[in-house]
Each structure stands twice: as structure tokens, then as C-alpha cells.
């Protein structure tokens, strides 16, 4: 019988009682003990109160630029040490395998360094392109100056995203974002595949109060905003399935704060 157990045995079941993990009989017997034992009753009161405090801690919202930041890290170069540590963070590998793998990596790295006269890794453009091609979401249209756009963006390291080149037809039905470095501080050309997706984007932009928008007769929206609100603009351009990064008109010239102008050229294909 639980109610005949010593107090410490009763108190070991407080956690299960809080979580409603005990059956009705066990719960009733603990409560009977609590009714007869002032010491345990006091302990139970403070235990349940502290659990209430724990469960009441508010969760914090995720920062708005969280997802683009992940793609930025994926697109950036991978330093050797974090890659090595990453292996040790992997949950499914036993320690002995990790130690062997670590020793092998060190041996291969030393051997490679000894053979290579320059001593640095061979990050050729082909290897970079292959790595960027793994980065999902961002598609740059096949414009004449795509190469310049890529170069301008990649010169902004640590940039949130690097570019892969793919024709707009690779994402049928999606909004394809095409970025060309012209215009005021920043120009973004948006090719909406349907009028519905264009309208959706318009509504999303107009619903925000971080910026002022002036439409032009050529279908371009001129957005006046503070440079600190750029992440919000980027977030607004990522409604569901497509992430957007922007190319400044003048490489490395994007202001960190203060007023700036962004031209959004929205076009229905």
C-alpha cells in the first residue's frame, strides 16, 4: 500500500503525479498520504508550484532572418575545424569510430599538405559551383549579366546566400526571382509566373508598414526604407517556398543603416 510507504517513497512519485502518469488508485493513495502528512503536503505544494513555474516559461520567437542565415552558412566556405567537430557531434557514431576517423583525417590532411606546394585547398570555380548548386531555393535567371550579379553577390561575404544558375523553367509554377545589379541602392527583378502569385506578393508588401511604396507606370515598385529593415523586406519576399537575396547596384556599397531605395520590378511572365 502506497499510503503506508515512507515519506521519501511518496515524494519520489511527485513527478509522475504532476505529469498525470499515475493510475487513479495510485494518485488517490498519494493524495490520502498528503492529507495525513503535513510535511509531505508542504513538499508537494512547493514541488507542484516550482513545476508550474517551469512550465510557464514563455518560448521566444525565432528571429526573422533565421532561415536565410542557414543558407548563408551552407553557401559559405567550410572551415576544417567545425567540420571536424561536426563529426564528433554526430549522434549515431560510436566513439572508437570517431577516434579512428579523426586520426585518418589528420593523417590525410598532413599528407595532402606535404604534397601541395601552395599549401591551400583547391577551391576551383567548378568546386564552388558544385557546392552552390547544393544550395536550394535561390534561382537567378539567365540574363546577360547573371555572371556579374553572382560575382557582386559573392564578393559580399559573409553573404546570406550564394547563387546557383538555373533557367526559370526549373521551378514551374513558382515565383522566380531574378536579380540584376542596376538601379538605386538595390534592384530586384521579380518574375511572377502567374498573376495570382504577383498579386499575392503585392498584398504581402503592401500589408507591411516598415516602408513606403511608390508604384511606377512600368510596373516597378520603388520601396523607401531604412537599411535595417532590409531583412524584413527580404522576409516579405519569402512567402512560402522561395527565398530571395538581393544584389546591390554597387558591390560592397550597401548601407548598414540609414535610408535607402530599393527598386522592385514586378513582371508577370
Amino acid at each position: 500500500m502506497i499510503d503506508q510507504q515512507p515519506c521519501h517513497a511518496i515524494q519520489e512519485m511527485f513527478s509522475a503525479l504532476v505529469d498525470h502518469e499515475l493510475d487513479a488508485d495510485a494518485s488517490a493513495q498519494i493524495k490520502a498520504h498528503l492529507a495525513a502528512c503535513p510535511h509531505c503536503a508542504l513538499e508537494w505544494h512547493s514541488f507542484s508550484e516550482s513545476c508550474r513555474l517551469l512550465k510557464g516559461v514563455a518560448m521566444q520567437p525565432v528571429p526573422a532572418d533565421f532561415l536565410p542565415g542557414i543558407h548563408g552558412k551552407l553557401a559559405g566556405p567550410r572551415p576544417l575545424l567545425p567540420r571536424f567537430l561536426e563529426i564528433f557531434s554526430h549522434p549515431s557514431l560510436p566513439l572508437s569510430s570517431l577516434a579512428t576517423a579523426g586520426a585518418l583525417i589528420i593523417a590525410v590532411t598532413l599528407f595532402h599538405s606535404a604534397l601541395s606546394p601552395s599549401g591551400h585547398t583547391d577551391a576551383t570555380p567548378e568546386r564552388q559551383t558544385a557546392e552552390y548548386a547544393m544550395t536550394p531555393m535561390v534561382t537567378v535567371g539567365m540574363e546577360e549579366n547573371t555572371r556579374q550579379a553572382m560575382e557582386a553577390m559573392n564578393s559580399l561575404r559573409p553573404s546570406p546566400v550564394s547563387f546557383s544558375v538555373a533557367p526559370p523553367s526549373t521551378l514551374p509554377g513558382d515565383t522566380v526571382i531574378d536579380m540584376v545589379p542596376i538601379g538605386p541602392d538595390l534592384t530586384i527583378l521579380v518574375h511572377a509566373s502567374t498573376r495570382e502569385s504577383q498579386a499575392h506578393l503585392y498584398r504581402r508588401l503592401l500589408s507591411q508598414n516598415h516602408w513606403r511604396i511608390h508604384p511606377t507606370r512600368h510596373g516597378t515598385l520603388i520601396v523607401f526604407l531604412d537599411a535595417e529593415d532590409l531583412p524584413s523586406l527580404r522576409h516579405a519576399l519569402v512567402p512560402h517556398r522561395v527565398a530571395v537575396e538581393m544584389v546591390p547596384s554597387r558591390a560592397n556599397d550597401l548601407p548598414a543603416s540609414g535610408p535607402m531605395t530599393v527598386a522592385l520590378r514586378l513582371q508577370a511572365d
Partner: protein
């Protein structure tokens, strides 16, 4: 009419029992949807990764926030976790175990980052006011909001001072609201051990917070 009222009461009771804390988690989603997303990503849908992140980012970011004290550091840590997920997913054998795998990976990352920052004196270099400072959200009741913030800070400070094993089990159960089974998988502990450790951790938390409240 009475039957309808009884049914409504039963429904409300069941809902409350299933969600005793009374709040919704942003990224509650059926496990099957996560499995489908993992499959879609493995089959070459690059956008599935974004949906996976969006599904789990709330919990993982808040998990990180319990190990490191600033939002900036927590963001960086949580992003690193998803970068590792991106690069390590091919090694996941069972797609249905993604959530447990994600938590194992996230906890390992959090432990490593915590230990590294601790060695660097990161946790002793700032005042307690910098710790766990959440964003202020304007509400109709700023006094209540401030009180809640102070209470949250107090709880997080007590948790931060606890030994690693006690801290982790409290975070996973009471802050992240994982089930006993999920905790068992994430920490690699038998179910019975999870239950006994949780009772010890909660008792330790109770004693620590009592001591702190008594101290002037």
C-alpha cells in the same frame, strides 16, 4: 441538449488534459508530415529542407536559448544545428526517427557550444541582465508582461546553474514539452531512468529556487 453539453464538456476536458500548459507550440506538427518532408528532400525536392526548418526551428532555437544566454548566440547555434542536419541527413537510416535524431544532434551541438563558451569565460563576462533577455512584445498589460519576464529570467537562471544532466532533462520535459519516450530516445536513456532523473531534477530545481527566493 444535456447530452450535447456533456459531450462539449468532455471534449474541453480532453483538450485541456492534452495541453495542460494551456499554450500552443508554434511548430506542433504531425510526425508523419516531418517524415514526408524528409523523404521529399531525399528525393531531390530542395524546398522540403526549408519546410523542415520551419517545422522545427521554434523548438530548436528555444532549446539553444537555454544553453547560451543571448539571442544572437542562440540563433547562431540553432543555425549551425540545421547546417549539420543539412549535411548529415544522408546518414539518417530511418526517416521516421528524424525528430529523435534531430534532438540528439541538437543536444550534442548545444553541449559542445556550452562547454566551449564556458572555457572562454563567456558566462561570467556579462551581467545577469544580459542573460535570456527576451524581446519585449507590446501587450495590453505591460506590468504583467514585465512580471512574466522577470519570472522567466529567474527560472532560466536557476536552470542554467544546474548540473548538465539535470538541466537537460528539465529543459526537454518542462520547457520543450517532450514526452518521456521522446526524452528517452533523445538522451539515450531507459524510460525508467528518465522518470527517476526527472523527479530528482525537479526536486533539485525546487530546492534551488526556494533558496534563491529566500536570499535577500
Amino acid at each position: 441538449m444535456e447530452l450535447f453539453t456533456l459531450a462539449a464538456c468532455l471534449f474541453v476536458t480532453v483538450v485541456l488534459l492534452n495541453n495542460p500548459a494551456g499554450h500552443l507550440r508554434q511548430d506542433d506538427e504531425p510526425a508523419t508530415e516531418t517524415t514526408e518532408l524528409v523523404r521529399a528532400w531525399r528525393n531531390g525536392d530542395p524546398l522540403a529542407f526549408n519546410r523542415l526548418v520551419q517545422t522545427h526551428q521554434f523548438r530548436i532555437y528555444n532549446l539553444a536559448l537555454n544553453y547560451v544566454k543571448t539571442q544572437e548566440e542562440a540563433k547562431d547555434l540553432a543555425q549551425d544545428i540545421f547546417v549539420t542536419v543539412y549535411r548529415s541527413l544522408p546518414t539518417l537510416r530511418d526517416e521516421t526517427k528524424f525528430s529523435a535524431w534531430l534532438y540528439q544532434l541538437a543536444i550534442n551541438h548545444c553541449r559542445n557550444r556550452y562547454r566551449r563558451l564556458q572555457r572562454q569565460g563567456y558566462f561570467s563576462s556579462s551581467s545577469i541582465d544580459d542573460t535570456f533577455a527576451p524581446e519585449l512584445v507590446s501587450t495590453d498589460n505591460p506590468a504583467r508582461e514585465l512580471e512574466q519576464k522577470e519570472q522567466d529570467n529567474l527560472v532560466r537562471t536557476v536552470i542554467a546553474a544546474m548540473p548538465e544532466t539535470e538541466k537537460e532533462i528539465l529543459i526537454l520535459r518542462d520547457l520543450q514539452e517532450l514526452s518521456y519516450e521522446e526524452i528517452s530516445e533523445a538522451l539515450g536513456l531507459p524510460l525508467g531512468t528518465v522518470k527517476s532523473k526527472l523527479n530528482r531534477a525537479r526536486t533539485s530545481f525546487k530546492n534551488r529556487i526556494k533558496l534563491l527566493l529566500r536570499t535577500p
